[in-house]
Symmetry: D2
Subunit: 324 residues, 4 copies
Amino acid sequence: MGSIRTDLALEARELYQQQNRDYIPGVKVDEEEVEGVKISRVHILSPLGQESLGKPQGNYITLEAPDIKNRDPEFQQTLSKIIAQEIKKLVTLNKNSVTLVVGLGNWNITPDSLGPKVVDRLLVTRHILEYLPDQIDDRLRPVCAIAPGVLGITGIETGEIIKGIVDRLKPDLVIAIDALASRRTDRIGMTIQIADTGISPGSGIGNKRMGLNKETLGVPTIAIGVPTVVYAYTIGRDSLQMLIDKFVDHATADSQFYQMLKQMGEEQLDALIHQVVTQELGDLVVTPKEIDLLIDYVADVLADGLNLALHEDMTIEDVKYFIN
Amino acid sequence: MGSIRTDLALEARELYQQQNRDYIPGVKVDEEEVEGVKISRVHILSPLGQESLGKPQGNYITLEAPDIKNRDPEFQQTLSKIIAQEIKKLVTLNKNSVTLVVGLGNWNITPDSLGPKVVDRLLVTRHILEYLPDQIDDRLRPVCAIAPGVLGITGIETGEIIKGIVDRLKPDLVIAIDALASRRTDRIGMTIQIADTGISPGSGIGNKRMGLNKETLGVPTIAIGVPTVVYAYTIGRDSLQMLIDKFVDHATADSQFYQMLKQMGEEQLDALIHQVVTQELGDLVVTPKEIDLLIDYVADVLADGLNLALHEDMTIEDVKYFIN
Amino acid sequence: MGSIRTDLALEARELYQQQNRDYIPGVKVDEEEVEGVKISRVHILSPLGQESLGKPQGNYITLEAPDIKNRDPEFQQTLSKIIAQEIKKLVTLNKNSVTLVVGLGNWNITPDSLGPKVVDRLLVTRHILEYLPDQIDDRLRPVCAIAPGVLGITGIETGEIIKGIVDRLKPDLVIAIDALASRRTDRIGMTIQIADTGISPGSGIGNKRMGLNKETLGVPTIAIGVPTVVYAYTIGRDSLQMLIDKFVDHATADSQFYQMLKQMGEEQLDALIHQVVTQELGDLVVTPKEIDLLIDYVADVLADGLNLALHEDMTIEDVKYFIN
Amino acid sequence: MGSIRTDLALEARELYQQQNRDYIPGVKVDEEEVEGVKISRVHILSPLGQESLGKPQGNYITLEAPDIKNRDPEFQQTLSKIIAQEIKKLVTLNKNSVTLVVGLGNWNITPDSLGPKVVDRLLVTRHILEYLPDQIDDRLRPVCAIAPGVLGITGIETGEIIKGIVDRLKPDLVIAIDALASRRTDRIGMTIQIADTGISPGSGIGNKRMGLNKETLGVPTIAIGVPTVVYAYTIGRDSLQMLIDKFVDHATADSQFYQMLKQMGEEQLDALIHQVVTQELGDLVVTPKEIDLLIDYVADVLADGLNLALHEDMTIEDVKYFIN
């Protein structure tokens, strides 16, 4: 898939389909739409599927909810409920199962602060259940949470910190929240990916070096990711690709120019874009100007989704009551 | 200059020169380089110059300091001193002159928070000079400051708020700080424009409807602006333009394709880009991922520059002493 | 009332009653309890009442809501509705009446940040009604808001800033929100005073030098204040007073010591406390350790109360919908 | 030492001396004054000393620096250097020794946010030394840092989190930063305690249940604490004690009242104070109103002190250069 970077299985599939054909061996896909939210479930069933999409074997659920941009409080609740349902499909928790929620990312950098902000809004209960087991509501299950900060802040690989805590605490489930890079600007803040494969090394905005998954942590690990940026490089490159496609349509099939365009492969396109876009563009990201407000809204959505999924028979009103 | 938006006189000049020739009637330009900072002074001397560049008559000083990206503390001081010198060239203050510094922009939206952050770091003295005139250091002059917030927060045009305060306070000078949009990503946070024309309606990131200048406020008004975003639209469009230029070089001069490309004017390019980039892209901005840190650094630079310019015979150490 | 400082009419009345008798000439008081909130309405009707209580003539409504400390979301709504009702009793607004809400205080100092935080959560509409009158919901009325910052930040008396804006904007009503000092720790964050007398010079935590009221601004001015601190000095002094009262009870009526205690008047007590409490204590304040959370909660309560009072036929859900 | 709570060895010694006599068995004390900073070193040498002062055996260095209240930038540097020297006396680090700095406390509650703020300002290097050993300045040693958040935020005992990370990372030294409660308001923010005993369970503002020390972590652990609050209860009680002392002086030696006062022991005083101060006072704290600014200043002082102590031959300018 060349030099274009995506953390979304959905986009990996789209890229595959663009360049190949519709059927992907070892991959099963189903889609449905619920209250304005498009739910795509990509199941990578075999090593072949894994190789095709460049993503580890497992289940990837993607919610596409363009209405997020309106930041409507009622839709927020709808979306939280859908997220809760999808999380519940991936995990089995009993009354005593301890869940550790990990908020990845850097709280000082707005588009990377989603994970810490979700942790901040979470209904955390493990300590109450441990110290005051009798005073606690029956519907609560033990949830704990940490936002450890990124490598540049701590000097420690996030994976090392989490591994140390998991080894000590022995939770039954880890859920890691992360901000992702997307290929498409209309996905920023509006697409939510839930995967039972955990997090691979090098994914997310912050370039983790160590993965967070069942292999590294020793417990089932769910990853929830939301694209919050598109690399500016991607925009430049996509603009070029679309322009070339357009020219191909206009050029006479036997002209020399048509031949030139057709022969222009991935590598040449990359070389061209490197001339066109300034060198620094690689570190530049595209976000909505109101990214601060968007991140706050999505953090609320995810936190409520987790609160509904991890405790039992709770409404959002119940959760708000317990959090205060 | 079509649909491309720039708040920088420097870029207006570049655009003019690209499309026309080097000499611009009614405009005088001088340039110098001081300690790694390129200083360009564009003097728009006549209505003709004003029309050519699409900027009001007056003096525009632009500092280009790519080293800002290293966020080095020593360079920070160098740059503050240069800013102070350039401000002093544009204004004449005596011992009792009152300066009102206005921090424009929205503190909740990182790339638009530059103005409020500068105000936050300013050495404000007007109240001390008024209430305790005897206890005050001789080098201090009366400075006051306000960050009124944007229209969406206050429900009041920023210009109305400032006009009300200026009418009541009758300062001798207004200095307005604003975050700007640039055409080029390598200018983000690294170019500082100081202009004695004040601020025109519609400039800045926040789309002010009323200008802040000598006409509207009745007192001399300096505007200091720093580009903190590039509209994503600009990136897409520039990528296309460069690709077309490239194709023109490759195409045979008499081919039909060459003709097509040459005929592709501003309007057609705009139409094309509208097809290529998604509709929402207009509201999307390109920033470095570390925009939060960059804004903090630049706010420090500008605040120290103002502190040195508005008080007399001060060093940065003196300023720090007084601020605490 | 000596050296003890209070911004609450309720406490002024209590002090008066302690030192004198129950009936206060020129003052009418009525009380009621609604859903756990004690509502006291002190009406100072004449110059005599004004002199007795040391507060300007006018109406002071005090809500005592100790349940605030639980930070329960349901009670939050109840309280907002009561606040809205009481505000409506003091003001008459028609469809086009413009209200300017002023958030007094310093956003950098937690117990003084209540006013700015209320402004931050307000449904601000004046600009929409002005620029897009046809697209707006019929129930909205023009509200604008500003948190100008304190003297130490701006170098300008808050009263000067507001006077400048009011003269320019000519609103029909000003509502000023302020953090107050109380005499009693159990009032911190749990007592809300609404007064149609505006704000007197020297009141509030931040020591304003200029009042905000009908005389200074030229428009009706409501003040809403919430105690967020008790001066540490007050605690020391009250402890001493209570101890002395206790000793008086124990001492034999004709003993020399009893005489000494009885003779100990306000002045001697003040002299004594000055020996006992350290000099710096005057600047020290007593707050709950969780003052940050408490201020957030109370800011939500007040903002919703204002939103319900200033617009028409709104529910809190409606308000949330419009704010996003 | 009854019901009065102090985290400072210095205050434990003062209390002991008040109630007993000057010489404390098993405790050695030396004092010196350096550039306006009073340095007291309390060495608890034996179990007897440990019992007398109610603090674990070890070395406690206390810096008293009342000039902190002026928040002067020059004094800030002086104090950081003294802190660095004192830390160096307690630890032996070689070039490869890894130090883990732990910022205890709650970033959402101002007086408890000192630890996280110090971590935020630290020169963290472990990751650079690990991944780019050749590119790094010779004077840097591996430092890493974490602010894990408090029990109410994470649902996990802070001690458990740190133990997990320490077991995984195996640092050579742990330094824990914490906000403390003091008995005296004039110590708030102005006294710094450095102890090689680590942190005992139940100390600090946040009521930790598990200690952080060599026994629990398995590596040498330094604790650095700064009082940021006095419990309001302490103020009330101290006021009473001083008043009683005063009355004792005035009363005739053979009077009944004198006898009553003399007999008033610790328990009765506690009973009395419980009548005097309202029930909630126990949770109330006394802080300067500007606690936000004070915490920022002290966090800078401590962070620079650590930066100078943990790296080699560094100046504060060097540190600032590396941090940016």
